[in-house]
């Protein structure tokens, strides 16, 4: 375990970009965990007297049209956004990788069926498909996670299929068979762990994308409903005020969203370095 930690320290310390990304990630995680405790105001508390105030000492990010403190809302929303993104990506990663790995390893009819399924999903414009799923199944957060996971599935299935296909004929897979592993076990314990590092970069890019997706859905009113703070909703609420000059209502949640996506993008390489044993010196 200590060698993993040492390796983690090395990876993080080696590249300033990785360091930055991890730093941002820690900030976000802290905000998600402690948001409601460190928020200066109750995110749902309205105060019409102090509505539409620009950023000031009392309200660092200003207030919105109902007098709610935007900083508190942005902070508290972190948990929800992260949870949705991580939940959706985890689900699609697990299911997609499993399906893609089987397709890539066994080939023949397994490959045909799984590929046709993923092709079907990809035939739709993905955001529209997500909208349709949420609208059909019901307008709640769980279905937002599910919808985002479903439209994301083909991405992982294809990647896994390709990575597994390349490694299928490798010597160590044959050696694993010779050592008494069944084909399925060889796939699970030997091929998939080696196929993971290149996918890690994609996982983190995907987190950013999933977050945008969820934000997009709530922007148009699907999924998360007001007054629950969520960055997409916050931006939606603020959008109507931009032209009238209250720029801060949309800007700060938008910035938070941007920083989160940025962080995930940068994290990709770091994650891969962390997992790939070849990077160990």
């Amino acid at each position: 375990m200590t060698s993993t930690l040492r390796h983690a320290r090395y990876v993080v310390g080696e590249n300033p970009v990785t360091l930055l990304a991890f730093g941002l990630l820690i900030v976000m995680l802290l905000a998600a965990l402690l948001g409601s405790s460190i928020a200066p105001y109750d995110p749902l508390a309205t105060n019409t007297v102090r509505k539409l105030e620009p950023p000031s000492r009392a309200h660092w990010f200003g207030t919105d049209q109902l007098g709610r403190d935007i900083l508190s809302r942005v902070l508290v929303a972190t948990r929800l956004d992260l949870a949705i993104a991580v939940g959706a990506v985890s689900l699609s990663f697990l299911v997609g990788t499993a399906a893609g790995a089987c397709a890539g390893f066994f080939g023949h009819w397994v490959d045909r069926i799984i590929s046709r399924l993923t092709d079907t999903i990809m035939a739709f414009p993905l955001f529209v498909l997500a909208m349709a799923i949420v609208a059909a199944l019901g307008n709640n957060i769980g279905n937002v996670v599910l919808a985002t996971a479903i439209i994301n599935l083909p991405f992982y299935a294809r990647m896994a299929r390709a990575e597994v296909n390349v490694r299928r004929e490798a010597g160590y897979v044959e050696a694993a068979r010779l050592s008494g592993n069944s084909a399925l076990r060889a796939l699970r314990c030997h091929v998939v762990p080696n196929a993971l590092p290149p996918m890690m970069v994609q996982v983190s890019l995907n987190l950013g994308w999933a977050m945008l997706n969820a934000a997009g859905l709530s922007f148009i009113g699907l999924g998360v409903r007001p007054p629950t703070p969520e960055w997409g909703i916050l931006v939606a609420e603020g959008a109507s005020f931009i032209l009238s000059g209250e720029w801060w209502i949309a800007l700060f949640p938008g910035l938070a969203l941007m920083l989160a996506v940025f962080c995930f993008n940068l994290l990709g390489d770091g994650l891969r370095d962390l997992i790939d044993p070849r990077r160990r010196t």
């Binding site: 160590y172 044959e174 050696a175 694993a176 050592s179 008494g180 592993n181 044993p277 070849r278």
Partner: protein, 326 residues
Amino acid sequence: MTPLLDVRGLGKRFPLRHSQSAVHAVDDVSFSIAPGECVGLVGESGCGKSTLVRLVTRLLDPTTGSICFEGTDISRVPAARFASSPWRSRIQMVFQDPTDSLNPRASAFDTIAEPLRRLGTANGRRAVSARVHELADLCGLARELLGRFPHQLSGGQQQRVGIARAIALSPRLLVLDEPTSALDVSVQAVILHLLADLRERLTMTYLFVSHDLNLVRLFSDRVMVMYLGKVVEIGPADRVFEAPRHPYTRALLSAVPTPDPVLRRRRIVLTGEARSPVDPSPSVCRFSGRCPEGFERCERDMPPLRPVGDKHEAACHLLETQAVLR
């Protein structure tokens, strides 16, 4: 004495996609290996030796023929289920390229322990650990290297890990698939000495595949030459190398670069293109068209393996003519 491995009429066809044709990778191959022997297998790319090796180690299922190991026909057990059959531990292989055949994410210890954990009778971590250390010592691998990953080991060290893994379950038949071609020549000698030593100590039988003919000669007792899926010559190593009877073997040996000008042979140049392995005609010698000595019978009949000396056989019509003339 019953042979350890007895292969009869072994064939493997790979169907081509979207057509009825098939590549005949291995065609009607028969040979046997006695216990304790080392049989060399030579041939150029496309001759079928990799396919034959995978058939013998049961990673592939044959299309025709039988593979009798210690008296039982193991070709009846499908390759997909062979991993759980009792013979799995008795036939093992050392691979050519250690960078490809060692799991990059597994330490040397885990790689060697894998067969023990899957198929071994040793129970518990202590027993497995003890056996891994024993194997590392046997293969000349320093114990402190066991925690390293393949990319942190040199080529020779990686290959020792591969060998330790292969002998972990004390197999009776060990297939060596070009075990030293990816290594420097100075390391090669060490690994070969190790393999020879292990063979004696652990009474194993070897099937030694190599493209380096000089190496096969000094390492094997008998040698088998393959061409386009068929065995063209088989016999004691010294005999086959000193006095090859098949025209292909002669051409092959003449092409081997030799440092000693005295021992150099006159080159036999092979002109023409090799025959296609797709749906080859069963009545035409595979080497005809390229053979410097063919005659019309070569395009009419497939030559069978004929004895040309003590335990020495070759598949060529010319030999029959020679026998008749004698």
